[in-house]
């Protein structure tokens, strides 16, 4: 903070807009970085103002993940692109069993974007980062001409360190293992869709966007044999289970009656012609563990605020075709296939 430069008139974060000059590498960019990004996200590395951050890591394997966020709308019930960019990458790192430590953040901003909105997004990132106990140690800002981006795009890359003895991976599911989810499915996708231009409908559904690393810590403590963790984001539970089934070379059978879906999400999906199994989540995870550890793991998850509605939803089975099957509440069986393209409502 002590290295803050003087730019004369402060940047107008209330009524101003982002201009091409804010990404040109000159004085305007330096001012935007100083008066918005560094101020909000301040930490020892960022404040140094170098082009890179040099960090010391604790011992262990380093987990690294990157994600780009292009969500529309930028602000939605329960979150915004800023908090989402933190939670999404923290979760991707955490699914390896790692403790997330540091993030980088890159912004691609459309010229004309209100600085007040940018401030709101950066403030939200700062709050989410503090809550998740991670620091944003370096960043980048680019401004593109109007029409070449949709408001703002954010990329975050995260690193963390995997404690000794932990080796979670999507290829470790074995027949007989149990499949757990940490809570209700589909909240994030429906919350976002309810705000989308052309579809708007009134709902109390909030995005579940949250950082899951502390829930992961509790799960690792309880279930030493935990095989793999994954957050069912785009494509939802169905697509994520198919990914794991293929990686592990197994099939899966899930029970429709055991999958938690809130009544509001179920109703919205019914109305919109969607299937909650394919709708995105941003604060939920899927865990696969040996059968004898499932009950204890479930109890530990339910004792955590982010796992109160956790459930055992099915089990891994042998299947050379790697199908994910579902026993329906109605009493029949069906395949739960990969999402085909974008999920679009049926006409009838």
């Amino acid at each position: 903070m002590s290295k803050r430069r003087s730019f004369g008139r402060p940047i107008d974060l209330r009524n101003g807009v982002v201009e091409l000059a804010h990404g040109s590498g000159g004085r305007a960019m330096a001012q935007l970085i100083d008066e918005l990004f560094t101020r909000e996200l301040s930490n020892a590395w960022l404040d140094q103002g170098n082009d890179q951050a040099c960090i010391d890591l604790p011992p262990g394997r380093v987990a690294i993940s990157t994600d780009s966020f292009v969500i529309s709308p930028l602000f939605f019930p329960g979150g915004d692109i800023g908090s989402l960019a933190i939670h999404g990458t923290v979760n991707d790192v955490a699914m390896s069993g790692a403790r997330p430590l540091h993030l980088t953040a890159g912004f691609i901003i459309e010229s004309g974007f209100p600085l007040a909105d940018l401030k709101r997004i950066v403030e939200s990132m700062a709050r989410a980062a503090i809550a998740a106990n991670v620091t944003i140690v370096t960043g980048d800002t680019k401004v593109v001409e109007r029409g070449q981006a949709d408001g703002v795009f954010v990329n975050t890359t995260g690193i963390g360190v995997v404690p000794e003895g932990i080796a979670l991976s999507g290829d470790r599911a074995r027949p007989g293992d149990r499949i757990l989810v940490s809570g209700t499915m589909g909240d994030h996708g429906v919350a976002v869709m309810s705000q989308r231009s052309g579809i708007e409908f009134h709902t109390n559904i909030q995005s579940d966007s949250a950082a899951l690393h502390d829930l992961v810590r509790v799960m690792l403590e309880t279930s030493p044999g935990l095989r793999c963790l994954r957050d069912p984001t785009r494509g939802g539970l169905a697509t994520t289970l198919n990914e794991i089934a293929r990686q592990s070379g197994v099939g899966m059978c899930i029970q429709e009656t055991e999958i938690p879906v809130s009544p509001e999400v179920a109703a919205a999906c019914e109305l919109l012609g969607l299937d909650a199994l394919y709708v995105a989540n941003e604060g939920k995870l899927i865990g696969i563990c040996p059968a004898d550890e499932a009950k204890g793991l479930l109890e530990a998850m339910r004792a955590h605020p982010l796992g109160e509605r956790a459930a055992i939803v099915g089990e891994v089975e042998e299947d050379e075709h790697h199908f994910v099957r579902m026993r329906t509440a109605f009493g029949g069986d069906r395949v739960v296939d990969w999402l085909s393209g974008e999920q679009l409502p049926r006409i009838c």
Binding site: D319, T328, G332, D333, R334, V335, S340, R346
Partner: protein, 380 residues
């Protein structure tokens, strides 16, 4: 969900399944066609066939409007979408169907065309009001269910003198398709699968009423049960068809009494007659050209007809020769009998009508039922 969960109750389903198993005669075959994609979807999504005895076979009919729309009509929409002044709107699952050269409306959107998903014709009308500088075209598809809302939109545009709204009309008629299936040589050939009875459409029948099917029951001696779209509706309707067949009756019965009447929605029928008139013929993907099976916009409302406004002409496009959709839609073949199924033809790369929407017989089987008889190349 109140009024929904009751119709998906597993315990009741087992009771109805028990009645079906008890009443279906073991040495009898019951080949029942569910006309609608909505039924097909429900059957696969809830696993209804697992609750049926082997002698009851469901044949998946052509009642999926997205599926039966011929590629040539979609090409007309694609050509409109590529015009810079046009905003093209349609229903969700229409957007990913590939036209000629594999280009879909979604792909066109990715290339910069202004293609919007709407939930109703009224949304398209609202877009036209909000964008007076653009031409808003509603790509209207569907059976009698979606026709009245399109008619309302056209009449509204007429009364508002909305210059920038038009409709590319592809509305089709259910009874014409049923007659086509019953009259087709394949359905009458010795050795082919005879259809013993029909599960009649749910939403379509709300509009046209049960009396529209009486000629099939009388003329062709085929029982028809109008069935709701929930899985218990389907189960109960199957039981009602089995009872009719066992008793040698061929009547139109109404299972969906909570919504359907004998005469239907007369006001909606009148409105449709005011705006639309029959086309002398229309091509159905999978069935071919079917006379008097579709609607076009009347001359009086011709200024809202996108075909006239943009001077569009229809050029038929043939499906792959190996595609067996025509036989599948008539119940002569199963999806897995087609050599394209699951190999060249998948929901990502549909080559025939039955694969283009999740309501189509092949897509529903691929997405929900494939584990029963997995095809070799099925993606794992």
């Amino acid at each position: 969900m109140k009024y929904i969960d009751e119709f998906r109750d597993g315990a009741t389903a087992r009771r109805v399944a028990g009645a079906i198993a008890a009443e279906a005669e073991p040495d009898h075959h019951y080949h029942l066609m569910e006309f609608c994609g909505g039924h097909t979807h429900a059957i696969y999504r809830y696993g209804v066939q697992d609750l049926l005895p082997p002698q009851v076979r469901m044949i998946h009919g052509p009642g999926c409007p997205v599926c039966v729309l011929p590629v040539g009509r979609l090409d007309m929409a694609l050509s409109l979408a590529s015009r810079p002044e046009v905003i093209l709107c349609s229903y969700g699952d229409m957007l990913r169907v590939p036209g000629s050269g594999g280009r879909s409306l979604l792909k066109a959107r990715g290339e910069g065309a202004d293609v919007r998903m709407v939930y109703s014709a009224a949304d398209a009308l609202e877009l036209a009001r909000r964008h007076p500088e653009r031409q808003v075209v509603f790509f209207a598809i569907g059976f009698e269910t979606t026709t009245p809302p399109t008619a309302v939109a056209i009449r509204q545009a007429h009364s508002e003198d909305l210059e920038n709204f038009s409709v590319l009309c592809n509305h089709v008629l259910t009874p014409a398709a049923v007659a086509n299936i019953l009259d087709s040589p394949a359905a009458r050939e010795i050795g082919s699968v005879p259809i013993d009875g029909f599960l009649g459409p749910a939403h379509v029948s709300i509009v046209i009423g049960t009396h529209a099917y009486e000629r099939f029951a009388e003329g062709y001696r085929k029982p028809v049960v109008i069935s709701g779209f929930e899985p218990l509706d389907v189960m109960q309707s199957i039981l009602m068809l089995i009872r009719q067949l066992n008793e040698g009756r061929a009547e139109v019965e109404n299972q969906y009494t909570r919504a359907v009447t004998r005469l239907g929605n007369v006001k909606a029928q009148d409105l449709c007659a005011e705006i639309f008139e029959p086309r002398s013929e229309f091509e159905w993907r999978g069935l071919g050209v079917v006379p008097d099976s579709a609607l076009q916009i009347r001359k009086e409302f011709g200024r809202f007809d996108a075909e006239r406004r943009f001077d569009l002409t229809y050029a038929p496009v043939g499906d792959n020769r190996a595609c067996e959709c025509g036989s599948i839609l008539r119940g002569v073949l199963e999806p897995t009998d087609c050599k394209l199924f699951g190999t060249a033809c998948t929901p990502e790369t549909p080559m025939g009508s039955c694969m283009v929407s999740s309501e189509g017989a092949c897509a529903a089987y691929y997405q929900y039922g494939r584990f029963r008889q997995p095809v070799k190349s099925a993606t794992a």
